[in-house]
Amino acid sequence: MKNPVRASLLVTCLVDLFYPEIGVAIVTLLRRLGVAVDFPPGQTCCGLPLFNSGYHEEAARVARRMIPLFSGSEHIVVPSGSCAWMIKKEYPGLVGDEPAVGAQARTLAERTHEFSQFLVKVLGVTRVETDFRGRVAYHDSCHLLRGLGESQSPRTLLGGLPGVELVELPGADECCGFGGSFSVRLPEVSTSILDKKIANIEKTGAGCVVACDAGCLMQMSGGLSRKGSPVKALHLAQILYSEGGSAPLPTPPPEASAGKAGGRTRAA
């Protein structure tokens, strides 16, 4: 039997502290797909909020700690597009010149994958089994869409679910108004942008808006619940692995996606 694909979860601060269930969903799903998942201890935050506000030395301090945690990792999976962008696109520029962590930062950048991209582009998985049922709309997170150039992988995964009707969200590629510290620096503007997003979500008649970034989820669910809307904002992983939906599928996966995916990646 081939060695399984090994992946480390970089959980991100928001998922760790506010949405641990997203982390649990990812771990469970990946294991079901035959991936050996580990969770390097000592994780905090990637430093993106510091970096985007112009606190680069402060962000570098955080990055310097984060980088060595993943030195032994084959793949690093990140549940948020913005954090994946930070690690892939900004870490090398931030600390790439430093003898101690520079080379590691570049390696980490190459091995880091946003969750949906890891499933589709690394594992080659396009269909998973889930108990989730209903109509969903997908919101493109800015950093995943424009930062990492990804719009298809999440749609492919959602479109491949038998019980899920994926509807196109009008203005799906427009910002939800989160923007990290922007959301509290200019709360009225941020909320006004959010109102447009919510109006578009409601137009679709979806019971749930799906995103691949915990920041967007915090913003959209915050607006939806304040308005008393029954629409939920969920992470892609929560759709692909519906926690508590029903009994987990048998493990290890009998055949299909997992075996193929593992083989393909090892061969690469």
């Binding site: 201890p41 112009g54 606190y55 800015c142 427009e174 910002c175 922007f182 509290v184 503007v189 006004s192």
Partner: protein
């Protein structure tokens, strides 16, 4: 504009704009239309992407030899009988024009749309000197009648609905007009026709200036640019020094993408190429042609972090897609150049202090960079600008302290865990049906309009043990 900027903080100006129902309606209609037109235009133009790369490369190469191209341009303009004036500052540019007006007895000047003349606040200076400036671009004419400033780089009156324009015209022109764009345009046209014939001076900006031919290029849709450059006896063109391009071949590249980015047109209705004054034997054109090459802070940026902002073609595409601009419009920025690129241009022209708040008027969503015809990395430069505000200690002390502490916490798993534990304790009395609906201090800025999820009882890190 700087006065306007200092009266109220940016956040308050933005909040006021959000409550202006007319503004919201006008902005939504106009920006949505522009976005669609641009998208359709590029969808049917597969070579567009390559042309954008090419245009960017031309801008970069030109900047590297800017002095050379400017000298070549000046030589060629003078060879054609024109006069070239170098202006290091806005004031020098203004004084040059006022001097020309004085020496030549100019009482009225017609203008075609020009952001460069907005930048130097020329109209106010002309009025103070007893010269009547008349804006002849329809949008500029509207806002001149309303005593306002442009709120968009290419659509100065974008913030007004047609109903508001009809009311304005009825009041100012003493005649009742219907809220019909055709009727209103005809009214403006009738008013302006006489002014073109009366004016002693025509003042324009320049979309491009071609170094090896000495050609000043104006891109317009109303034909007013052509009237301004050919009817009055003196034509003065004001341009930022970054507008020079090497050759006519380069011009073709820019023309192919400029109007598509701005309005979705293949080409604007008029592309006016001006080469010096009227020559003997020619029937029209001005007796005198003056080109003002204005620096006003630009050359300082050539080697700086904002260098790419000097590529800007002033197409306005980044404004149309910016979620912040689309909500608050141009006036709330309080500066000559609004929108994402406007923040960078303001920093360039007026210094970093002028953008202390504006530098944060972006969610960094990246939509601006995506549509920019020359792919200016606006988000990256906004981040660089924020970094400078921090390093130069222009950012508030409280903010710098907070981020300093924040980074210490994030760099230490023990402090991170402690912070989370304290947060869980503190939130306990505040959780209402699983949500935080009202929080104090900074977080109150979130919960005023949105719920916040509480910190989970157990973090993922704690739950991992069961998953292992």
């Amino acid at each position: 504009m700087s006065n306007q900027a200092s009266t109220k903080p940016f956040g308050e100006r933005a909040a006021v704009a959000l409550k202006d129902a007319f503004l919201q309606e006008a902005l939504t209609i106009a920006t949505t239309k522009f976005i669609g037109l641009r998208k359709d235009s590029f969808a049917g133009f597969p070579q567009g992407e390559e042309l954008r790369d090419q245009a960017r490369a031309i801008k970069e190469a030109t900047l590297q030899k800017l002095d050379h191209y400017l000298e070549q341009l000046a030589d060629n303009v003078e060879r054609l009988g024109g006069h070239v004036h170098w202006a290091a500052t806005a004031e020098e540019a203004r004084e040059t024009i006022l001097g020309l007006c004085r020496d030549r007895g100019v009482k009225m000047a017609v203008k075609s749309k020009s952001m460069a003349t907005e930048e130097i606040e020329l109209n106010e200076a002309l009025e103070r000197a007893g010269v009547t400036p008349i804006e002849t671009d329809l949008g500029e004419y509207i806002i001149q009648l309303a005593h306002e400033k442009p709120s968009h780089i290419i659509a100065p009156a974008i913030h007004k609905t047609k109903g508001q324009v009809a009311d304005l015209f009825s009041r100012e022109l003493k005649e009742r007009f219907a809220a019909d764009p055709e009727v209103l345009t005809a009214a403006a046209r009738k008013e302006l026709r006489q002014k073109f014939l009366q004016a002693d001076m025509g003042i324009t900006g320049a979309n491009f200036a071609v170094a090896d031919t000495g050609t000043v290029v104006l891109v317009t849709n109303e034909g007013n640019g052509r009237m301004v450059t050919s009817l009055p006896r003196i034509h003065v063109a004001v341009m930022g020094i970054e507008k020079v391009i090497p050759s006519m071949t380069d011009l073709m590249v820019f023309l192919a993408i400029l109007a598509r980015s701005a309005t979705g047109q293949k080409l604007s209705v008029y592309t006016t190429l001006v080469r010096g004054p009227r020559r003997s034997g020619e029937v029209d054109g001005p007796e005198e042609f003056h080109l003002i090459l204005m620096d006003n802070g630009r050359s300082r940026q050539i080697a700086g972090a904002l260098r790419e902002a000097l590529y800007c073609l002033r197409c306005g595409a980044c404004l149309n897609v910016c979620p912040v601009y689309r909500q608050i419009g141009g006036h709330a920025y309080g500066e000559t150049y609004p929108g994402p690129i406007g923040i960078l241009l303001t920093a360039m022209l007026r210094g970093d202090r002028a953008v202390k708040d504006l530098a944060h008027a972006s969610s960094l969503c990246g939509a601006c960079q995506e549509v920019c015809p020359v792919r200016i990395d606006i988000p990256r430069m906004l981040i660089a600008l924020r970094h400078r505000l921090n390093r130069e200690r222009i950012a508030p002390l409280a903010e710098r302290l907070m981020f300093g502490i924040f980074s210490r916490v994030l760099a230490s798993p023990a402090l991170f865990r402690l912070g989370a534990a304290l947060g869980r304790l503190a939130q306990r009395p505040l959780v209402r049906s699983g949500r935080l609906r009202s929080l104090p201090l900074l977080l109150g800025r979130w919960t005023r309009s949105r719920d916040l999820p509480p910190l989970a009882p157990r973090s993922f890190t704690e739950r991992w043990k069961e998953l292992e």
